[in-house]
Every structure is written in C-alpha cells, then in structure tokens.
Symmetry: C2
Subunit: 449 residues, 2 copies
C-alpha cells in the first residue's frame, strides 16, 4: 500500500481524554476514532489489525473443530425471558422497541439464541459433540465507558458455545477450547495465562479467565512464574484425542485473579522465588455451565438409550476489540507501538528518503514491487515529507521492519533495515534486501507454531 | 470438511412462510434461520457463502483504490440532525435511547458518519481523491420484512463513500466504482446491468441501480440485449487512468428501471429485436450527490489556490445479504441451488457411498486428503446414510461438483464425477480425479478475469 494513497491520519498531539497508553497510541496512530461515548470507528490501520486478530482466532477455532456461523446483533426480548435473564440483566442491556412496539435488545452475549438454534435442529446424541461460534458486534451499555476500545459499549467478540451429552464430554469440549486459546494468544505474540475465575452472571462451576500481564492491568493476579514460559501445544495437537494431560499440566500451576486468590493456598503452592504478583488484563473468558440454559430452554437430545437428555453447555469468549489494545499495552515503547509480526497492520514499511527524486523513486518503486511480489504485506512511504517525519510515523504505528532507501544508499547500492523492536540497524546490498526481509518475517508469522 | 462433524441442518419440507424460491432454498439448505421478523442467523453453510461474496467485494474495492475501515452500528442522533435526516427518515430508522436517555439509532447507512470522519482529518486537496468503504450490519425497520434475507431488517451492506475536490473528479470516482461493480458481479457469476435510476432519499443527480434479471424480480426493467453479453473490464484495467470510454460504452446502451423508463425513448433507442423487458432484482446502487452532505456538515478542504472548497461526494452500496439470495434466484433448478464456483460454499463434495465399509472409508479418506491438499475447498459426505439421501443433499445445497466413490467403483478403480449445473456425468480412473477436478474448478474461480 502506497502511503500517499492510504488514509492514515496520525495525530501529533497526545489526546487528553486517553488515560492509558494503548488508548493514546491507538488514537495517535490513526487506528480508531471515537464517534460517541464508547462507540468507535476502526480506521484503516486499526481495522487491518483487527482483521488479522480475527483470522488467527478463526483458524484456531476451526482447527479445534468449532464451526463458524453468524447470529444477528438484534435479539428478541422473549428469548431472554425464557432464560430469566431479560429482567436480571439490568441497565447494561441496550433495550430497543421497534416500530410495532415489540421489545428487542442489542445482544450483549448469545447463550439464549444459540440454545434456541440448537434445540430447533439437533435431536440426537449422534450429532454431538457440537461447538458453534460467531464473531459479531455486541453491546453493553456501560455507565462509564473508558480506556478506548478496551472497555467500549459496542465491541467485537468471538463467542463459542459447546453442546454435549453429559458433563464428562462437556469437560472435554472445555479442554479443546482451553488448548485452542493457548495457541490463539501465542500466535498473536501474547503471553496469556489461564486463571481460575469467578463464573459471574454466566453461571457454572468451571471457568478460566485469560490474562496477559501489563502494568496498566485492571486487576491484580497471582501465578507461578513457570506459566510465563511454558511451551504451547503444537499445530498438530490432536483435538480428537485426550487433551487432559495438557490441561492438567497448565492448571496444576497456581494462577488466580484477585477475586479468586487464596493467599495461604498461593504461598503453599508456589515457592517464593516463583511467585509472580502483577497487574493483568483479561483477554478472554471460558465457562462450563452445565444445564443452566438448556434446562429452562428445553434443549435436549435423544440419548443412546432412547431417553431425552438435557445437554451440557459451555461458552468461550474472546473480545477482539479488547485484544488489540491489550497487545499494545504489552508491546510498546516511548516512540509508539511495537507490533508482533503476526498481527502487525503491515509487516514492513519501505521508506523513500527523497520522494520526488526520479532515481530514488524508480529504485524504491522497483523494490516495493519486489517486496510485494515476495508475499510481504508492505506499506510504502512514498510521500513528499521530511525523513524525520517518516521515521517518526513508522515508529509510532509500529511496523516491525523499516526498509530505508535514499539517494546516498542508491549511490553505494545499499539499503538500511531498522528492526522496530530492538532498534537494531543493518546495512546490506540492495540485491539482498527481499531475501533478508523475508527471512526475518516468515518465522514470526506464527502460522506454523 | 467432514459432513459428520459439520452443522448442516437441511429441511425436508418446504417452509410455508417462504414466498420466493431463494428464501425456500436458503431455509431448506440450512443456510439461514429466522430469529424474529426480518432478523436472520446465517448458519455455517450460508455464512461461508456470505464471506465468499464479501472477499470478492473487498478485492475489487481495494483494486479500484477504495480503502476499508469499519464504523460502528450505533450512531448518535445529533450527527443525523446535522444533515437534517434525523427527522426526515421516518419509522424505518430504528431509534434507541441509552441508559442516560441520550438518543441514538442503528445506522441504516453512513453518509453522515463518514462525512464526520472526513472533516475531522482531511484538510487539504492533496489528500484527495479519497474513497472509504466498510462492510457493516445496518438496520431498516421495514413495516413488512419478507423474502428472507432479500428484504430483512438487519442486513449486511458494503457502502463506499468518495470525496473529491470538484464535480469532474467526483465523476471519475463514480466511474471507478462503476468499473469495480462490473467486475464484482461478474466474479460472483452474476450478469448485473447498470440502469439509470432515481436517486431517492440519498439525493443527487447521477445514479445507477445494478440489476440482475430474474423472474421473481421486484420491478420491471427495460434494456438493450447487448448489455447481457458485454465483456467485463479485465483485472489489469488501469483505475488511475481514463475509465470514461468504458463507462460510456456501457451507458450508451439503453437500460432503465420502471421508475425511470421513458417508453418512447426506449423504443427509439433499441431496435425491436434487441429489446429486453423483464423482471429484475436490485443488487447495488451507486450515487453521485455532490455537496448534499458536505455542505451542511461543513466538510471542506483547502484547494490549490488556498481557498476552502466544500467536497463533492458519492456513495456506493452493495447489499451482501441480498446478493446471496439474488444469486440463487438467478441460478437454481428443481433439485436445489446451483452455485457458481466462485461463491459456492464448497467447490466439490466427495460422496462416500458406503460409509462404515473399511475399504471404501480408507479410499475415500485418502482421496479427500488429496483433494484438500490440492487446494480444493471440499465437503466430504462421510455419514452413514443412504446414497439417495446423500445425492439429494448434494443437489439441494448446490455444490458444483459431486465426486462419487463406492465399493463397486473401488473394485474397478473408477470414480464418477457429476456436474451439478449440467447434470453431466463422467467416469474416470481414481488416479486422475484430483487433476480433473482441479482443471474443472480453477478457471471458474474467477480470480483472474
């Protein structure tokens, strides 16, 4: 993408309303714009990151056997009366009346609707296990939305729902999602730790929050240091096999949020030098809640023995519009964002140091064509702007590699590459640039971990 | 995808509520489910088609130079007061009050919001031309929603908005979208004809509706027969060059909807044997409307001469949730849907005629692996079901090619391929199947037209 033809409205000034660094950087880097309190547009650069996050989630959900569909944002109030949550949900639910004065709501979550879909079509134990998910906009009318898209009112969530014949099978479904989540966050460059959590208004008796550590985290967490460096289950992990050993391996090490921590237990379980007490940001939440919705909503199947059995369910959420700022909280420096390659809006930026100079333009245009042809997701800063401003923009928006070419380099046939994360610079012959950049980027795409 | 692990709830019975064939077939093929009047879930098969349609639209929008972002579904009423449309819009607008009793609405379109984004960031003529688009759910509270997703209340639309310094440039932006639309529909296997149209509540003085011909069409259209077979501008068409010759070539032939037709003009312009009068379905609408929104909302830039100039705008819509049924209206037979390859939920289905038989299972599993490895988007009917039921399902859901293998074929080493569209069958050696199917499918993917 040529920057001269792109829409990247970076801001020079630090917006006053932004309290946390991810919010400030997302505004400054032209990723988002607030349209009203808690309502954001995702500008092109931000949207591109959001979609890269979405692709990773979809790939890992699909790999685990979950199936994607899409439910509408607007739901009937009657459906929520069946579960008893319509009255229970309170003011966070955005309630709507249509032109015929029928009651609707903007879905804050989808347990009721997916249970309704399930009971309509699935009649036999033979159709289980089943895990259906969607990635759809939700709305929670927070009293005081803040922190940008970290706590916005309209937000994008992946929510999966598992259906099983009994608790044992449902726990297996839970373990599949547990492993999928380990892989999902790792592929985004995040160290996310599953922590025992309170089940809250969703209900149920087995639940983990997925937490990344960041100084700006909203809550205190307590865990075993080894969790921070545990290897992730590989791409070819058998999702139809026994995942309990992986689940047990991860959950045997102590990890809990402040709502759940038992300090005596924590200190007994974790040697002093292994204790990590830090701030964390929740980036996902998974629940097994048994028959909480299937019972009142009569979602049952005929079992092997011919008897009707109410199904056991779980739900599994990831807030995409929350993951993006969480990545920034975990990865930035004083000059701006430092994107992991797998979710970077562009993998590298080619900086033309003298746009308008015919020789430099020709060399840069040619190199840009070659880098793009090599399958690299490229930004090309071809604007007629001072070099300093181009470097500042590249640093701010956090592209992992800067490829710098100007008249001087052209004379010696050399190009400079700057690594955004480390600040390291290398100079190399023009002819070697494409291969070098590709060799830097490909392993970091995390497609094959 | 193994059908035994998929969620494809096909219906045997013809749903009574469905008045048109696409609605019936989408329900029967397990593509959609009505959640409330005018509100639909897209079940996995339907969602997959919807996303293939979305990818084609995105590729062609990007190719033409438009840039993707994403605006929220909920908009502030104040924004719509600026353009005067808040009061003018009537009951089709879903109006919402939040917990603080502030007025919002579920966006039916986005002229106001994109103009607001534009005026916030763009200050100079140097940043023009600019065309921003998004693909987002919209809501129009129709009195009587019907025809399934063809006229639903919550619907998915691609809407692009162009910004230019003057009318001449704005017309060039219009021509770029015109060419992008020609390519977009062709890639979906549709013959869509641009017709002079009324500009309606969007306003403006240049507008085309994009119409596909189908007996069930909602309106009468009149056009020159040559439009039905006109070649489409190729992939490498220069969107930065002069597109007026293409635009003139298409618009010089008469084509108009019943609201716009002048019968005397029609008969004068089109020889009798070239006249086509038929029913049509609108699948897109493009507008140039000048300063209708930029004037009241003060969206201006500083021109070359240092003076403030109000920008000229256009908007360009495609209803994705309408395009899917429109494709079905244009392509089905008495047994079900006949998908064009480029938007088919799966490109081919492998039918195991004797699931449970060890040899047949082994041969089918192997072939499925090979077809998938060859990059084909495969469904694998591995269920323990009678052959007749499998054929009926494959026909109903409309997969372009059926690859049929059972114990008898296994003995002679032969596989049957059925072409869904023509009914043609061919028998060939097992070893040649992958290459044959690939050679059938690849040219129909339309990635390179």
């Amino acid at each position: 993408m040529r920057l001269s033809r792109y829409f990247l409205p970076v801001l020079r000034d630090v917006p006053k309303e932004a309290e946390i660094v991810s919010h400030r950087l997302m505004l400054r880097a032209g990723m988002i714009r607030q349209q009203a309190s808690g309502l954001y547009s995702w500008l092109p650069l931000g949207y591109k990151v959001l979609m890269k996050v979405q692709r990773i989630i979809e790939e890992e959900q699909n790999r685990s056997g979950a199936i994607e569909l899409l439910m509408p944002t607007i739901q009937s109030a009657d459906l929520w009366r069946e579960s008893g949550r319509y009255d229970a949900y309170g003011k966070e639910m955005l309630r709507i009346e249509d032109r015929h004065e029928r009651e609707f709501l903007y879905g804050p979550t989808n347990e009721e609707m997916i249970t309704d879909i399930f009971r309509t079509y699935v009649k036999s134990y033979k159709d289980l296990p089943l895990n259906l998910y969607h990635i759809q906009w939700k709305f929670r009318d927070e009293v005081r939305p803040r922190f940008g898209t970290m706590r916005s009112r309209e937000f994008l969530m992946k929510d999966a729902y598992s259906f099983d014949l009994d608790k044992d099978s449902a726990v297996k479904a839970y373990e599949r999602m547990f492993v999928a989540y380990l892989r999902t966050y790792a592929r985004m460059g995040l160290t996310a730790i599953p922590m025992r959590a309170d089940t809250g208004p969703i209900g149920g008796d087995l639940s983990h929050e997925w937490i990344i550590l960041a100084e700006t985290g909203e809550s205190q967490v307590f865990c075993h240091r080894d969790l921070l460096e545990k290897p992730i289950p590989p791409k070819n992990v058998d999702f139809r096999g026994d995942l309990k050993p992986i689940f047990n391996d991860w959950t045997s090490l102590y990890a809990a949020t402040e709502e759940m921590v038992d300090h005596a237990e924590y200190e007994a379980a974790v040697p002093e030098d292994k204790r990590v007490s830090a701030r964390g940001i929740e980036v996902g939440h998974i629940f097994y809640f048994g028959t909480k919705y299937s019972e009142p909503m009569k979602a049952s199947v005929t079992g092997n023995d011919g008897k009707e059995t109410v199904v056991h369910m779980g739900s599994y959420g990831i807030g995409l519009t929350r993951v993006v700022p969480a990545i920034i909280e975990a990865s930035h420096d004083e000059n701006g964002i430092v994107w992991p390659v797998s979710v970077a809006p562009f993998e590298a930026v080619l900086i033309n140091l003298k746009a308008g100079d015919a020789d430099t333009d020709a060399a840069c245009d040619k190199l840009y064509g070659e880098l793009t042809a090599a399958g690299l997701d490229m930004l090309y800063d071809d604007r007629d702007q001072p070099a300093g401003s181009k470097f500042a923009t590249a640093d701010l928006v956090g592209i992992p590699y800067q490829i710098i070419l100007g008249p001087r380099g052209l004379k010696t046939g050399e190009v400079e590459i700057k690594h955004r994360k480390t600040g390291e610079r290398e100079t190399l012959p023009l002819a070697n640039v494409v291969e070098r950049v590709r060799s830097l980027i490909e392993p970091q795409r995390m497609n094959d971990i």
